[in-house]
Structures are given as structure tokens and as C-alpha cells.
Amino acid sequence: MRIAVLVKQVPAVDNVKIDENTGTMVREGVEAELNPLDLHAVEAAVRIKESMPEGSVEITAITMGPPQAKASAAYAVSMGCDRGVLVSDKKFGGSDTLATSRTLAKAIKKLGSFDIILAGERATDGETGQVGPASAEFLNIPALTYVSSIDKLNDKYIEVTRSIEGGHEKLRAPLPAMVIPVKEMNIPRLCTLGGKLRAKKTEIPLLNADDLDLDENSTGLKGSATWVINVTYPQMTRQGRKIIASGRLDETVNSILDFLDEKNCLGASK
């Protein structure tokens, strides 16, 4: 069985602070990391591999981005993927989700046939969640989105549980299929020292626009169907009222209730 995992490098947000004056995120000097939601996709792939006879599953981590995004593919290898591939070219720059998906689908096809393709729910920078399902469509395979567990897997089909509004749904899909986990599926492992050493030794080959036979009208800025025309920085901070709760709880509670009433939020309790 061959599994591909799509991973993306994003700016690490864990240590980001908000600029008090402008109310915007301070991004200078912020390190890059593997998109946190992609870790669940990598973990799912590695767990499938561990559940199968040794040597029967091969996992390829595929990342698209600038040359330094290679580190994300390497991180996926250190978690247990067998190899990593970097899809990178200046011509890919400025790709929207449509152009990115088209490019990734080309790369996946170039790397041979896969039984399962895993992708993260969305990236914490762009936050679109569109690349997984759109890549599935370019590959002409079904997409299983918001997957909270893989319930059954054989060489013909996969059964999953999806976490959707108001409950959980079970679906069966023939393979190959795209599987997009949500966070509740698993707890991603930390990479071991051995894993890190293995990743260091693993070569991450490059696929560029020529390798993928992509002309500049189908990828990058020119191949994109959406583009940003303007950017504004909204003021996120609010000039709210402040109460310091001192001795009298009933006073504090009453001022909250008055505020709720003022905002018409006591409808259900009148």
C-alpha cells in the first residue's frame, strides 16, 4: 500500500504576540513549523503503516513551497514517513488554492499511484481548507473530509467516521481516496532522536515546474483564479468596560446580568 501525505510549512504562531498599539500579530523573527493540523495527517499515515505487516506500506510526505519548506517534509520523515518530496519552483509563487491543488495533483500523479492520500484540515496561515478536497477532485478520487477516525481499511475500501455539525457520520469510500483528518483523530507523536537522524540522512528530492510539465498559465500567480486586491488591518482591540470583582459577588453578578440585558442576551431566561 502506498500512502501520500500533503504537508505545508507555516509561520509558527505559538510564540506570536499581539502588538499592543496596532493590534496586529507580530510576525518578525517568527520561526516556521509544520502546520499543526497536518501533524494529525502524518500521524494517521504512520499508524496505518504500523498496523500493517512490516514493509507493506510506504509513506511519501509531499510539501509545496519555497526551498526552505523542505524542512517540513524532513519533519514528516522524522515522524515515520519513508520519504519526502519538495514541490518547488519560482513559477509556483503566488498560487491560490486552485493553482496549488492543480500543482500538487500533478506532483502526486508524477510520483506514481497511491492508495490513500492524507492532508490536514487546513493550514493555520491561509485557513482556507480548500487544497485537500480540490486536490482530490484534480486526481478524480473521492474526498473524505473532517475524518475523526478510520474504522476499517483493506485494499479495496476505507470506512471512516466524520465529525460534522451536530454529530458523527460514517462513510465508506473505494480506494484510492483522499482522507482529511480533524484534530480529534489522534495525538501526533513527538519525533525521536532516531527519527531525526533518519530524516537527516534522507534525501528530499525536488520536483519543479518542468518536471511536472506545468506551464505558467496553470500554476503560480497566472494560473490562479483569485487574487488579493487590497489588505486592511482591522482594529481587534475593544474599549470595553472593566469591573474588578471585590468583596460583593452579587454586585458583580448583577452588573453582568445588566450588561447581558442591555445586549438582549437574556431572552432565554426571562
Binding site: 499543526p36 486552485l98 482556507t128 478536497p133 483564479a225 469591573i243 470583582a245 459577588l249 453582568i256 447581558l260
Partner: protein, 333 residues
């Protein structure tokens, strides 16, 4: 102004056999755009036994409803939805297609975008028509709500986007409003899915899913333990709201992932967001700063959540939560 008479479409959301209320919000979005383009507004309704319910949508602004009603469409399966929408778009050439940024919309729209090669913008919070070009301007938050990006679509129509639930109110229903019902029967091979539906089990928690809730009572690490956290449900019940949680509270196992608000959880835009014991990490604020009213209770006067709150209460979260529950119970009895 260049006038484009091609229809504005919204994709009605069907769950089970019911039209979900988010479909009315979509019509409010669509009506505004259709009016400024002087174009008709149509809703696409796909499902099984949905025809008798189509009339529900006219009072909320639809001029026309395309109904695709077939036993094959008993459950939402993304591949058949994509097939049907592609067929409809090729037949009727709408200029705009808006869907909700729900698990359905966020699955079917990217696939449709790839199928027909049209651009798609995710999770918009504002839409308008450019008076010069007559084209759709889609506004969406990026980088955790710190940036608002205006986005345009080029190439073939429709211009497509998903909009965040609860970011617009439905129009006041006009019960006298009527429109055209257009039944469309795509060929049956388009309705067959490769996927097999195996069942649904509803969640038992209080209230609506957080993305759809008007009121969210949220808790974080400051709730100290799962027993305290569970009390939030009581307040949620009293106020008619839903319980949300910070990442920390979810990681500690006090709440399910479906309740997580923030960058790696859900982005929410309720009318009221009441946060107990949440300090307000950047990732959390990214998911809730769009709420109409924010109340935060925290013992730490420096808690970052106070900077985005309309009412900040510095005090003991448990004590104040208990006080509120007691006081509301008295009022209701």
C-alpha cells in the same frame, strides 16, 4: 455601471431532509448582491423529498429555486453534489455561487472549483460588488483575523465563495413573496456516488454546534478541573447557548474537539461570547474576535482576552459562574 443579468446563486444547505436555517443567511447575502447587480437571486436545493419544502425559501429573498429532488440524493455525498452543480452551472451560467462555510460547503465547493476551474474564496465575512467592474469583491480574515483581505475572481464565472455562518442575519420573512420553482432532473449517472453512507449518530451535548450558536459560554484552563468545566453547561442551558472551549481545555479532556474555538479549532461569530478562565492566546482570539459582544472573566488583570472584551471582569471565574447560575435560576423560577 456594467450590469450583469446572470443570476446570483446560493447553495441551500440540506441536512437530513430539512432545509437548514443557514440557507436563509445565504439568501440575505445573495439578495444584497443581486440587488446591486440588478440580477435575479436563485437558490439551488438538492436532496430527497425536498420539493415540498422549497417554498420555505421564497420569503427570505429567493426569486427562483432550482430543485433537484431524487431518492438517490437521500444523503449529502460530495461527489454527486459536484456532478449536479457542474451540470446546473453549465446549463444556466450563474455569475456568482455562494455556499455556507460548513462541513458541507467546505467540502463540495473546493471540489467544484477544481472540477470547473473557477476561483473560490473561503470563509468570507463581507461581500460586495465592485461598482466599476460589476465583479464580486470577497473579504475574508487571514492570519488569525489580523488581516482582512479583499479578493477578486478572474476567469470564467461563477465567482464562488463560502461565507462564515452567523456573519449575516436572515432577512425578515415576507410571507407574501413568491417566486419560480424550477425542477431539474439531471441524468441519473450524475447522481450516483462512489461513497456509501453508513449512518449518523447525533452528539448529545447541550445546544447548537458552536459555529451556529448565538450565544457561546466558553471555558479554559482557569476552570481548573472537568467538574468545574461541566458547570458551563448549566449556564449555557440557562442562557440558551452552547459550550465552547479553549485548546487547553480540549487537550485536558474537559471538552470535545468539536467545541474548540480558535486557530486549530472553529472560528465563531456569535452574538455573545462569554469566556471563563480563558487568558486569550493569539490562537484563541483569532477564533472569537468576530463575536458581536465579548464578556471575559479572568483572575489575571493582564489577561490578553481583556483587550478584545466589551466587558472585562477581573475575579474568580468559578465564583462568578456559580453566582450567575444561581441568580439566573432564581429569575426563571
Amino acid at each position: 455601471m456594467k450590469v450583469n443579468k446572470n443570476e446570483v446563486w446560493t447553495l441551500a444547505e440540506v441536512r437530513g431532509k430539512k432545509i437548514h436555517p443557514v440557507s436563509r443567511e445565504l439568501l440575505a447575502w445573495g439578495r444584497e448582491l443581486a440587488d446591486s447587480m440588478d440580477a435575479p437571486l436563485a437558490s439551488v436545493l438538492i436532496g430527497c423529498d425536498v420539493s415540498p419544502k422549497a417554498d420555505e425559501l421564497f420569503p427570505y429573498g429567493a426569486d427562483k429555486i432550482y430543485v433537484i429532488d431524487d431518492p438517490y440524493l437521500d444523503n449529502f455525498l460530495c461527489d454527486s453534489q459536484v456532478n449536479i452543480l457542474e451540470d446546473l452551472i453549465n446549463r444556466f451560467s450563474p455569475s456568482i455561487l455562494i455556499a455556507s462555510a460548513t462541513t458541507q460547503g467546505r467540502t463540495v465547493m473546493p471540489m467544484l472549483s477544481a472540477r470547473i476551474g473557477c476561483g473560490l474564496t473561503a470563509d468570507c465575512t463581507e461581500l460586495s460588488i465592485d461598482p466599476v467592474s460589476g465583479k464580486l469583491i470577497q473579504t475574508r480574515p487571514a492570519i488569525g483575523g489580523n488581516v482582512m483581505a479583499d479578493i477578486k475572481t478572474r476567469g470564467r464565472d461563477p465567482q464562488m465563495c463560502t461565507v462564515r455562518p452567523k456573519s449575516k442575519r436572515p432577512l425578515c420573512p415576507d410571507m407574501s413573496r413568491k417566486g419560480d420553482l424550477v425542477k431539474v432532473c439531471p441524468s441519473s449517472n450524475l447522481m450516483v456516488s462512489a461513497l456509501e453512507y453508513l449512518g449518523f449518530s447525533p452528539e448529545t451535548s447541550v445546544g447548537l454546534p458552536i459555529q451556529e450558536a448565538e450565544i457561546i459560554i466558553s471555558g479554559g484552563k482557569g476552570m481548573k478541573n472537568s467538574k468545574n468545566f461541566a458547570k458551563l453547561e448549566e449556564l449555557a442551558r440557562l442562557l440558551g447557548g452552547t459550550v465552547g472551549a479553549s485548546r487547553m481545555a480540549v487537550d485536558l479532556g474537559w471538552a470535545p474537539y468539536s467545541a474548540q474555538v480558535g486557530l486549530s479549532g472553529k472560528s465563531v461569530t456569535p452574538r455573545l461570547y462569554l469566556a471563563f478562565g480563558i487568558s486569550g492566546a493569539v490562537q484563541h482570539i483569532a477564533g472569537m474576535s468576530g463575536a458581536e459582544t465579548i464578556i471575559a472573566v479572568n483572575h489575571d488583570p493582564e489577561a490578553p482576552i481583556f483587550r478584545v472584551a466589551d466587558l472585562s471582569i477581573q475575579g474568580d471565574a468559578m465564583e462568578i459562574l456559580d453566582g450567575l447560575i444561581e441568580s439566573l435560576k432564581k429569575r426563571q423560577s
